[in-house]
């Protein structure tokens, strides 16, 4: 039996026309977001996009390559600080500084990838954890990095001052468009990489590293590459982060942030780009928007405030936020280990096979 096939279909973006239309409409809608959201919401959206970039990168390492990192806040910090220093001390243009921040972070990623050839699982987790903590302490101590006080981000000039071109972005709306475009580029690039031999090599390492090696995958190259790409994403995310917040300080990059990054991709779905996005959006939203408003809930709000003040001292309601977040995460993972992406896949399968099963 000779089957005629369009060999391009495997790597095509849209196997069906309607998917293309939906995607186009979706991206257009993204560009209209500043019409509906302003102020704090827009600030949160900018933060969400930064986290989307980091989550996509982390998923390349954890979800696709099967390695672990509890040190991604470290790469994020490297990117954030590199960005500010490259622009303030070396007066680099924005785009160049951003790309370079990504590469500096990627270099650290490469170095951290080296031990992954020898240690696995929990041991690798400890190594990466140590990395993240070390970075936080270094930036907390050194004068170059502003010590505990941190650094102020320079004006967000996306022009090239050396050529006399200057375009300073000041509003959250302007920042939104800048970050949106970069996020789309990063997400598309990640998807592309995963569809080629590089992505297949990553997945092979995840599923069976010996079989991968026997099929010609150089573990030294591909494990360190996966760490480097992942760190590049975190670095670019960090670079943008410093402009979203306008200042950076060591405590923003603590271990909890690394764990939150992991939570994003586990909740969204390991080994899924869309899952990373959904996870980043959901977790950031829960953290910054939904749970911050607990106080304003009718009846329940006062009630929770009263309980938290009575039982959880110091920061009161904050504790409740983390607890509720923790419970939501635990529930998702218990009931759908493949994360939200898993729910989507089952829904899709259900629709495809509908009247029959």
């Amino acid at each position: 039996m000779e089957m005629k096939r369009e060999y391009y279909e495997d790597i095509q973006y849209f196997k069906k026309k309607w998917v293309m239309v939906v995607a186009a409409v979706f991206i257009l809608l993204l560009f209209t977001i500043p019409i509906y959201f302003t102020g704090y919401s827009l600030f949160i959206l900018n933060l969400i996009m930064v986290y989307v970039i980091v989550a996509v990168g982390l998923n390349i390492l954890v979800g696709y390559t099967g390695q672990i990192s509890i040190g991604h806040a470290g790469f994020f910090a490297v990117g954030a600080y590199a960005m500010i220093l490259l622009m303030t001390l070396l007066h680099m243009p924005f785009i160049l500084a951003l790309v370079l921040s990504g590469f500096i972070s990627a270099f650290f990623g490469f170095l951290l990838g080296l031990p992954s050839l020898r240690v696995k699982g929990p041991y690798l987790a400890i190594v990466t954890l140590g990395f993240g903590m070390t970075i936080m302490h270094i930036i907390g101590q050194a004068n170059l990095f502003g010590g505990r006080l941190g650094l102020q981000a320079p004006p967000l000039d996306v022009g090239v001052t050396q050529l006399g071109l200057s375009w300073v972005l000041t509003t959250d709306v302007q920042k939104f468009y800048l970050i949106l475009i970069i996020t789309i580029i990063m997400v598309v690039a990640a998807r592309n990489i995963m569809k080629t031999r590089i992505g297949r090599a990553f997945v092979a390492i995840r599923d069976d590293d010996i079989a991968a090696e026997v099929n010609g995958v150089d573990l030294l190259i591909y494990k360190t590459l996966s760490f480097a790409i992942s760190a590049f994403y975190a670095g670019v995310g960090g670079g943008l982060f410093s402009f979203v917040l306008s200042f950076v300080e060591p405590f923003q990059f603590n271990v909890l942030l690394s764990i939150i990054f992991l939570v994003m991709i586990i909740v969204g779905g390991l080994g899924s780009i869309v899952g990373s996005i959904v996870g980043a959006v959901l977790i950031t939203f829960l953290q910054y928007s939904l749970l911050k408003n607990v106080r304003e809930l009718p009846v329940l709000g006062d009630w929770l405030v009263a309980i938290s003040q009575k039982w959880f001292t110091v920061i009161g309601l904050e504790n409740f936020n983390s607890m509720i977040l923790g419970i939501i995460i635990a529930l998702i993972i218990i009931f759908e280990p493949k994360g939200i992406n898993g729910i989507w896949l089952r829904f899709k399968k259900y629709c495809l096979t509908w009247p029959f099963k």
Partner: protein
């Protein structure tokens, strides 16, 4: 005489146990060379040493005159030696076609930056993907896996997974193919098919095959040479007829089948 592939005085110990003890054999180009012996006699361990997963304690493995001992598994794949595993080691969460595409890895060249950004229909990346998919598609047709092309490997039957693994090894376009019990877990019909395919791989693709197999009909039917071992040591090497009549072989291996 200079052989195409030979193993000289190969030994390996695991905690004092000599799993493979001073084994030597020579394989001529385009031969089917079978290794048989009871379970635990060290057959798989020999494959693991050839493919670089284990490092022998002593001995040489010469391929086209070059000693490949000490090369990492991925380098050995690039030299042209592919294999399948006794217990199937596929990428379970990927489709059949992606598993086979991984077999093309050493023949592809796309780098990170072109992979990330060069995605026009006519780009080098898309062209490479297309060309290699086409080659993989031929293997899928050859092994009659069309129906399962887009299925996740983890959803396939044991016999089909064995075939996918064979397909992945073929996708590497090896000069030497190591097959570790390819027909294990297959039904009679599947066994008949795989026997014909192995013969085709030898005759039409010109691949040299090292075969570990328990199905004696198959071994006796398709092997050019048979190497018999037990508890890490060689018993006899010869043609099917020579091997079948060796008293120790009858006792150690075939004996219980004849009763």
């Amino acid at each position: 005489m200079q052989y195409y592939f030979n193993v000289e005085n190969l030994s390996i110990n695991f905690g004092g146990v000599k799993a493979v003890n001073n084994i030597s054999f020579a394989v001529e180009k385009n031969m089917i060379f079978s290794i048989i012996g009871p379970n635990g006699s060290g057959k798989t361990t020999i494959f693991n040493m050839i493919s670089g997963i284990y490092k022998p304690n002593s001995g040489k493995i010469l391929f086209e005159g070059r000693d490949i001992v000490g090369l990492r598994p991925d380098k050995i794949a690039r030299v042209g030696i592919a294999r399948t595993f006794q217990n199937i080691q596929l990428f379970g969460n990927a489709a059949v076609v992606s598993n086979l595409m991984l077999g093309r890895h050493i023949h592809m060249h796309t780098g990170v930056f072109s992979a990330a950004f060069m995605w026009g229909r006519k780009s080098a990346v898309a062209k490479e993907e297309r060309d290699h998919t086409r080659k993989v598609e031929k293997i899928i047709d050859f092994l009659e896996l069309q129906k399962f092309r887009d299925h996740l490997v983890s959803s396939l039957s044991y016999g089909k997974r064995k075939l996918v693994e064979l397909g992945r090894a073929l996708a590497l376009e090896p000069k030497i193919l190591l097959l570790d019990e390819p027909s294990a877990g297959m039904n009679t019909e599947e066994k008949e098919d795989i026997r014909i395919w192995i013969k085709d791989i030898q005759e039409e693709l010109g691949v040299t095959i090292l075969l570990i197999e328990h199905d004696m009909n198959m071994v006796m039917g398709i092997s050019d040479r048979i190497f018999v071992m037990n508890q890490g040591v060689k018993i006899i090497e010869g043609t099917a007829v020579e091997v079948q009549n060796h008293p120790e072989v009858i006792k150690a291996y075939l004996g219980d089948r004849r009763k």
